[in-house]
């Protein structure tokens, strides 16, 4: 080889110093001679340069051919064997518990492998592809809060309204071979089919039902439709669930919806107001009517008692009167007169024979209590004195 053929050193010239340094003229010693003996280490102990020299000599010893040039065939064979081993070892691979491996030989499906440490004949003979079969995959359509995608989420409904709907599809790979070999871009296919199916289902549902109690129905129909389509494509995918994450009226319309809620509350509060009024007024009326009735009862009782009292009084007097009528009458009359006259102002006038009107002085009409004790007052009683003026 050019790098150890000192007779033909090539463009780099002879190797420098070291073991191969010889005084000029001397032929290089035959290498076979010190075959089993290394040059003695320098007196000061081995150093790095010396280590290198020893390695090189070992290397040349192992690989050199019989004639000192070229490489031993066994060395080549050994090298080839090592390469082959490395190549063969590339066939080991690990299948995780949630995976399945599909092994193809020269491109043709060979076998499936379960989780664990597996071996396949190295590339290009066999190839293993790992597929997540138990892990659940999730595809989101319509964006998520914070990452809205109005293109994907605004949909036309069956009653020609617009709804803002985002949903998630959970699926897993049920047939790894079909997943790999039947459909070219299965994840994209799932998303496209999801969007198409959901829009179809929303397209024949009413907005109010989607917003309120029809969600379950929409989700079920979409799942059904998606599964049918993907089975037709032999995609090897099973849809586990379709979940509507957000279904709202479009943002422009939301205030009007909120107003409807407010309207409901306004109506209710008007009714409550009216009921309050009614309770108050009706109870007041009941109270008032009770009062009226009670008052009338009171009046009746009073009047009857009064009458009873008067009647009882009269009956007693009458009983006495019956025993001595004339006497009782006389007595009663005199007592009554006494009482009346003793409490009132009196003017006694004997008007027989008087021709002109009699005029009474104003003091005659003053009340007794108001009059100061003035006995000198000419008594209005006794004889009449004719005088013109207003009569009594």
């Amino acid at each position: 080889m050019p790098w150890n053929d000192n007779a033909n050193p090539g463009p780099w010239g002879s190797p420098p110093g070291g073991q191969d340094d010889r005084p000029e003229g001397e032929p290089p010693p035959r290498r076979e001679e010190p075959r089993r003996r290394l040059p003695p280490p320098p007196p000061n102990g081995p150093d790095l340069g010396d280590l290198w020299r020893r390695l090189r000599s070992e290397w040349t010893r192992l690989t050199r051919g019989r004639r000192g040039d070229g490489i031993r065939p066994s060395a080549i064979a050994a090298a080839a064997g090592v390469v082959f081993m490395i190549w063969a070892l590339t066939g080991f691979y690990i299948v995780q518990p949630y995976q399945e491996a599909i092994v193809t030989r020269f491109g043709a499906f060979a076998r499936r492998e379960v989780p664990g440490l597996r071996y396949h004949l190295p590339v290009p003979i066999e190839r293993a592809e790992l597929v997540n079969v138990t892990q659940q995959q999730k595809t989101i359509v319509g964006g998520s809060p914070g990452a809205e995608a109005p293109d994907e989420s605004l949909m036309l409904t069956g009653d020609e309204n617009i709804v803002d709907l985002s949903f998630a599809v959970q699926w897993h790979i049920s047939d790894a071979a079909a997943y790999l070999f039947q459909v070219r871009d299965p994840e994209d296919a799932v998303k496209a089919v999801a969007e198409s199916a959901m829009r179809e289902v929303v397209g024949h549902s009413a907005l109010t039902s989607i917003l309120t109690n029809g969600r379950g129905e929409v989700q079920a129909q979409t799942l059904d439709l998606m599964q049918r389509i993907l089975d037709r494509y032999h995609a090897g995918v099973t849809i586990d669930a379709v979940q509507i994450q957000n279904a709202n009226p479009p943002a422009e319309v939301v205030p009007a919806y909120q107003d409807i809620a407010r309207a409901g509350q306004d109506a209710q509060s008007a009714i409550n107001q009216a009921n309050t009024y009614r309770n108050r007024v009706v109870n007041e009326a009941v109270g008032d009517s009770a009062k009226i009735v009670q008052a009338s009862e009171g009046y009746r009782a009073q009047v009857v008692r009064d009458a009873e009292g008067q009647a009882a009084g009269f009956n007693q007097v009458y009983a006495q009167y019956r025993r001595a009528p004339a006497v009782t009458r006389e007595r009663m009359y005199i007592e009554a007169m006494q009482d009346v006259l003793s409490h009132s102002r009196k003017v006694i006038i004997d008007a027989k024979g008087a021709t002109a009107p009699i005029i009474l002085p104003p003091q005659a009409f003053q009340s007794i209590a108001a009059e100061p004790a003035a006995p000198a007052q000419p008594p209005a009683a006794s004889s009449a004195s004719p005088s013109p003026g207003p009569s009594q």
Partner: protein
Amino acid sequence: MSRRLFYMLLAIFVVVVVAANTFFIVDQRVQAVVVNLGEPVRVINPPGAYDPGLKVKIPFVESVVSLDKRNQAIEASQEEVISADQQRLVVDAFVRYRISNPLAFYRTLGNETIARDRLEPLINSSLRQVLGAATASDIIAHQRAELMNKTLEDVRARAARSRLGIEVVDLRIKRADLPAANAQAVYQRMRSNLQQRAAQIRAQGEASRREIIADADRQVTVTLAGANQQALTTRGAGDAESARLFAASFGKDPSFAAFYRSMEAYEGSLADDQTTLVLSPDSDFFKYFKLGPKAK
């Protein structure tokens, strides 16, 4: 450098190069067209045959064109469609197809990019034609599935006519929406519907309120009237009872009753400071006053 080694390695190199050009692997996802100097000669692993694996060809002369055997998609870009009732819709569809005849595909289309360029306008034109014959509500709702099928059939027919070598597996409309400008009109309509509903709810509430108040007032009137009626009856009963009692007692001797009651009346009304009585001495009270002790 060892000559022998050099030649050996050269030989190995040549063998490897030739082998690489002779052997090729056809994956089961792939169908291969072997082309001999530009002319397709045979097909390996076509649809209907399952034939993947290690294959052989004439080195350097024959080359292999790999086509996907799988179900793949073309998404047609948004297309504005005018429906039968003159409504504009923006429609977004996708098609899933397989290369069913690789030779034909290679001859007419050649590769997937060209396939997409030719299929997209074909799909859009089919959509316009089929959907243009349906009303907007049919497209969105009632006949969506049927219209998709019809368009699928139309696309299949066109692909067959043009001998594109593909099998159209499915055609689906992803979106059939109103253009942005019309969306605003829809929002406006939705808003006014909702406002109407809100006003109706409020009006109903107000009507109920008035009804309740009127009913309450009515109840009040009825209650009070009943009470008044009862009160009058009771008062009347009281008065009647009183009269009866009077009649029962005073009625025993009306003239004495009159006298008795009059005496009471005089005492009650005239015996106060405000009264001035102008009397004649002829009154019976003054009988003894005038006539002296001997009068009878």
